[in-house]
């Protein structure tokens, strides 16, 4: 279990989900004649002018607005993603410039499949918790790609979550402790210069998602001396609907505990943003004194678990930026042809 020397917490948070959706059924219509089940009802689709940088900017603005913190006071702007717009040129510098941060910051892009955002969160805890800085912004954002017709295409979606870490005494939710667990697991990868990732078939599921999450989550619960029942809410990485429901049940969490943060049925899997946007949705409804258990997952593979406690400050901060539900409600469905054009799946001669 890792705990910073100086207690830290979230002083702001912000979600972003694009307004466009494609229904799972519409994707199935294209590839399976509409036969068979779909892993999520719909997934979010980035508009033609959106990418990780633009989504990170909006989520970041929401986090700063909730904290009522001038961007010049940030010491770090870190963006975790597997779909950075550039292979070489950091997203973080563009995001920092757009937010109005000073030039005297650390800015970097993090990479760890779906847990790149929580890597940035743990690093932010360390930066603030060591006293090296007071405020660090950790963002997880993705415009995930799935090969046309592949199982991944039904879920690979877009979204961003921004978590602003600061001293615990200013926090709307304290981060009490974290655990990180990793192992070399070839469950999912994308080689350099390849457009779409692939699954390492039999490595998906038990040895990957479930083993990593259960290892991190159980270790954190054990070392805190707490059980699932001691938490008001829980949120897990959500590559589909079934996996987070299953892992929650195995760890002893109820459907009610995960319901507010389980967004994958409606927006699919926004990779690095998945658990973070789920956490934002929980913070949108949580009350002071509530406790939240978050566990992220990234292929390759690893998992970060966190225990948070909501403070009185949340109530004053919440309405300063759009709620996650506001983004979820503005859904506009597109057909497969529009989706294919926007996502660059059409080759224009």
């Amino acid at each position: 279990m890792m705990k910073p020397i100086r207690p830290v917490g979230l002083i702001g948070y912000g979600a972003y989900v694009p307004r466009y959706r494609i229904a799972g059924r519409e994707i199935a219509r294209m590839w399976t004649d509409g036969q068979g089940g779909v892993p999520v009802e719909a997934k979010s689709v980035p508009g033609p002018d959106e990418d990780v940088i633009t989504m990170a900017i909006e989520a970041g603005r929401n986090a700063l607005a909730r904290a009522a913190l001038p961007a010049e006071r940030l010491s770090a702007v870190w963006v975790g993603s597997e779909s950075h717009p550039y292979s070489v040129k950091p997203s973080g510098t563009v995001v920092a410039e757009a937010l109005g941060a000073s030039h005297w910051i650390s800015a970097a892009d993090w990479e760890f499949a779906c847990k790149a955002g929580s890597e940035a969160l743990t690093a932010s805890m360390a930066l603030v918790g060591s006293g090296m800085a007071d405020y660090a912004l950790a963002i997880g954002a993705d415009t995930a790609q799935g090969r046309p017709g592949d199982a991944l295409e039904y879920t690979a979606s877009a979204g961003a979550g921004a978590l602003l870490v600061g001293p615990a005494e200013e926090a709307l939710a304290t981060i009490d402790a974290t655990v990180s667990y990793v192992s070399d697991t070839p469950d999912f990868y994308r080689r350099a210069d390849r457009p779409y990732p692939v699954h390492g078939n039999r490595f998906t599921g038990e040895p990957a998602y479930f083993h990593q999450i259960q290892s991190a989550a159980r270790r954190l619960l054990d070392e805190l001396g707490r059980s699932a029942a001691d938490f008001t809410y829980a949120v897990f990485h959500q590559p589909n609907t079934k996996f987070p429901q299953t892992v929650a049940r195995r760890l002893g969490f109820s459907e009610e505990q995960i319901a507010p943060g389980l967004l994958s049925p409606r927006i699919g899997n926004p990779y690095s943003g998945a658990a973070l946007v789920g956490l934002c949705a929980i913070l949108d409804v949580a009350r002071p004194g509530d406790t939240i258990f978050m566990t992220t997952y990234g292929s390759g593979a690893g998992s970060d678990a966190y225990a948070l406690t909501v403070t009185e400050r949340l109530l004053a901060c919440r309405e300063r930026a759009p709620l996650t539900a506001t983004y979820l409600a503005r859904e506009v469905f597109v057909d497969y042809a529009t989706y294919a054009r926007w996502r660059g799946k059409l080759v224009l001669g």
Partner: protein
């Protein structure tokens, strides 16, 4: 040349940064160089709120070169709360959603992709206000 041209405008484009006159409080956008004989220090940079009303709009059905990937899209003139009138692309909206006078807000989006070996250009657009 082109990279420098985009880079120079980043504060204006990313943050909607305009100028405020230190004495009169007049706000202008986009930023301009000082007039001949004017003290350049009189105009200080100011980040505008990005909130305003749709003053007028038009729909482009034949996009210019470099904008084909957006398909049909709308451009608008927005009267900002601080006063200036700004022209920009409108996003996250269909033609049927647009009404003159509607509240809009600034978002930072991709303006253009200057080609496989070019830079991605980001800047302000406006969308119907979320809340």
């Amino acid at each position: 040349m082109e990279i420098a041209r985009h880079w120079r405008q980043r504060a204006t484009r990313y943050r909607l940064e305009g100028q405020r006159h230190r004495h009169t409080g007049v706000v202008r956008f986009p930023p301009q160089p000082a007039a001949l004989g004017e003290d350049p220090e009189m105009w200080e940079p100011v980040a505008l709120s990005g909130r305003g009303e749709l003053y007028s709009f038009s729909v482009l059905r034949q996009p210019p070169a470099g904008y084909e990937s957006f398909g049909i899209y709308a451009v608008g003139m927005v009267r900002l709360e601080e006063g200036p009138l700004v022209s920009a692309q409108l996003t996250d909206c269909a033609e049927a959603d647009l009404v003159i006078g509607m509240p809009v807000e600034m978002v930072t989006r991709r303006l253009a992709d200057t080609g496989e070996d070019g830079v991605l250009v980001y800047g302000y657009k406006f969308r119907p206000r979320l809340r």
